[in-house]
Subunit: 271 residues, 4 copies
């Protein structure tokens, strides 16, 4: 099912696959619903999988003025309302993980469990500055590619997937050169700068699996450790030899970790 | 279902729970089928869960003469034969992980996927010496308890579960004082000393999830890294703030990791 | 110079080597001044090196009744007084690191800089229990050896130094069998159980280098991280592939780290 | 002493400070002799400290055509010859560490000991691509700043030194906008692309201290681990919570590590 939910005047694109307890997958900043295509079969086998394009992503409406994550949280609930879904699990990576945590703060009763990959409690001054660097060359496809892409991946993945990386570069440079797309990326990046849930994160009580990568150079592992320390009902697993985009670098493992966390209700074990 | 499989003259105790593709759970050295009781519900929901007592464990027959892991591999296949099972997944921890890897080497066509927690490629000289220390005080319940148990757990778990640890001590010291049980532990420990699959591990091609714990003081994380480097179709995840007995320290996460690895067939993703 | 300082009725053995600003080296629990023999030349080249046997160690007097670290702090200052030394640097490992920190709390004006290896802020419940295990087999040389020694070393060191470890075992088992020596070890171990400087550690303002080992199975690396977080003027370095006894496993590096920390006064750099 | 050594037609700037066994400090790619100003006092107290501007750095001659590291190795030996120095220690960071290792391969008898910070065995495809990204925006000061600088530092340092980072940005953007300076950086970066000593590194037998940073996002810690595994006479220390520019983030510790490694000859300890 491919649909649009209405959020005020705007359309939020989503699609659903399969049946079962709803599982929302939330994109990283440069991703779209299409990024998850290889995961659809495996993640929809036992779940009603819902993919969403955030505003300024993919087939959702573009924005004009600056905004913050709050509107993306609105978008999520607009989709759930559109589908008549009371409660869902959410797995989000990077930007999507940040938005997922805020959705759990906004309407905790509607989120059952969380998987948060490669995100932290806040956008550090350092990460904000990296975002400024991306925005500074927005529209210059080649400069934007180099500013943002290589350091998203781990050196080992890069070496082992040179062809894939080159294909990606060939595809992304024209895309990043498109002024409309470039403006979307700028707004998305800007929308993250104010992200900071440090003060209220301890009220997120959903069972949460946090995934950190040992060589994440955007949201270093320390960020996931801090997040785990704050979330009262969370566990952290670390993927060695993996960069920020864990779902690209270790897709089978990423899918396993998501499915495993959602596979059972039991949190107390009388060992 | 609770049954015994015959292995030559010996009886191998096993029990099965639930339906689905068979999942064998293999014990650590001081464990038995009973150790998994809190996991039965969650692990049998979608699998035919098979618990086994190795020889010299729980309700299986005791041995007399020394042996090596080979006889435990025999025991596994005796159980599978008894059940008429052609192929199964195996999840094993510590001793059970070592035996699981050897089962995959012995009859690779009968093992579909593996989860190996807190085990390595071989029994290092260091680990062998720790085993000598256990055996040296075998039968002296208190000495054996102190020689073997505290360093199995991480300091953080120990602090947070003082009551549980004290109850465990109160239960284990009498048990370790029983000369029959003590002799079983000695033989089990001795049976691991020759464990070394370094030379052939690269022929284990089953999709394998390796679980390592950051503060494992029996099979330190480096052992899982070496194992992962050798197994051509394996992934490693690291659990921080966790000791050797990951299934006791992080039972919900352990269950999630096992279920997640078994939840899908897809290893190739056209990302 | 080999001398005894008087502490009430008791004699504290010490020796000094070389000239320069005084550097006190403080022993781990099973060590004595003799353990540092291989380090004397290198550490006394530019320092007045002072080795001390704590009470109940080496050539210092034996104790009878239980005590805590306080008396070892007394011993340190008795030695400094005996030598007429106003101010000294201290490098301590394990037990010696714990005592060094308490000396800095007791008479901060007399301690210039600190190197603290393989120690933490407190004796955790876990570490206390490991100590109980040592004491439980005190006097049984072989059992004590196995309870305490192998897990002090990293697996990699153990493998690469098998002859040394065997020589050590041959020497230590008779020593641990000596009831007088065994009683000393019991008291030393007991004296650590109450160690806890968590509440006041942040008042230790000496420039402090903290050394942690990646596979320390007595005072795991997390303990040094916690210590570093509390000491306002401290730095942490991590030695990979190294166990608790870093001065035995990496003696050249250990000496370099100590000498480097003491080699300069400059803490502020206008970079 | 401030001088120029002649290398063919080119002048290599160097300066010396203090007396003692010579210690050459080698710059990272964006550094110059001036970057070490805060270290001069502490590093020249017991050493004849030699600072060098590589060709295309600081006060040394600019190049025109592309070159590789070989010419920088030439520059080092031209300076040593000019000073009549037979043998020296070298400490190098990043680019300077790579050149130091090649100097040790070229004239091993003239290099006594090495300290190699934040460098690896080769320029990975990933690191090369990051270099391409820098070069792609060469001359655009702001874009170059963002492409290269933030990810050199760790998030924690960045947060704690916001004023310093802002001052650095204000200074570097104009500098990076200068076409002459930009062309120098391009050539320096290009000169690293072919760096690969994997095949011969095991013949470097000088006592070598390798310094790795836990959150190095240019030459991740894994690179230093690989380097350490290859160098037969090396030790690795890890600085936690530190990025690629360890000498800027932890200057006092960096100085201590260098001084400590050079403070003694003793590599064998009869422990």
């Amino acid at each position: 099912m491919r649909m649009f939910a209405a959020l005020a005047e705007r359309a939020v694109y989503y699609e659903t696959h399969g049946d079962g307890f709803p599982l929302l997958l939330l994109n990283g900043i440069m991703m779209s619903t299409k990024s998850w295509t290889p995961f659809i079969e495996v993640l929809s086998a036992r779940h009603r999988l819902i993919l969403i394009d955030f505003l300024d992503q993919g087939q959702s409406d573009k924005m004009e003025a600056p905004y913050d994550h709050g509107i993306q949280v609105d978008a999520i609930f607009a989709v759930l309302d559109d589908l008549g879904i009371e409660s869902a699990d959410i797995a989000g990576i990077s930007y999507g993980g940040q938005v997922a945590l805020q959705a759990a703060l906004r309407q905790p009763e509607r989120i059952r469990r969380l998987v948060i990959a490669n995100a932290g409690l806040s956008t550090s001054a350092w990460l904000a500055e990296i975002g400024h660097g991306w925005n500074n060359v927005a529209g210059d496809g080649r400069a934007y590619y180099y500013a943002s892409i290589p350091s998203i991946y781990s050196p080992g993945f890069y070496e082992s997937r040179k062809d894939w990386m080159e294909a990606r570069r060939a595809k992304l440079i024209p895309l990043f050169s498109d002024p409309v797309f470039a403006a979307q990326l700028v707004r998305l990046t800007d929308s993250s700068e104010s992200y900071d849930i440090s003060a209220e994160a301890d009220s997120i009580t959903q069972p949460t699996l946090i995934i950190g990568s040992e060589t994440d150079c955007l949201t270093p592992l320390m960020e996931q450790k801090k997040l785990q320390a704050k979330l009262p009902n969370s566990e952290l697993v670390i993927i060695p030899d993996c960069g920020h985009a864990s779902m690209y670098e270790k897709p089978a493992l990423f899918a396993s970790l998501v499915l495993g966390h959602l596979a059972h209700d039991q949190r107390e074990f009388a060992i």
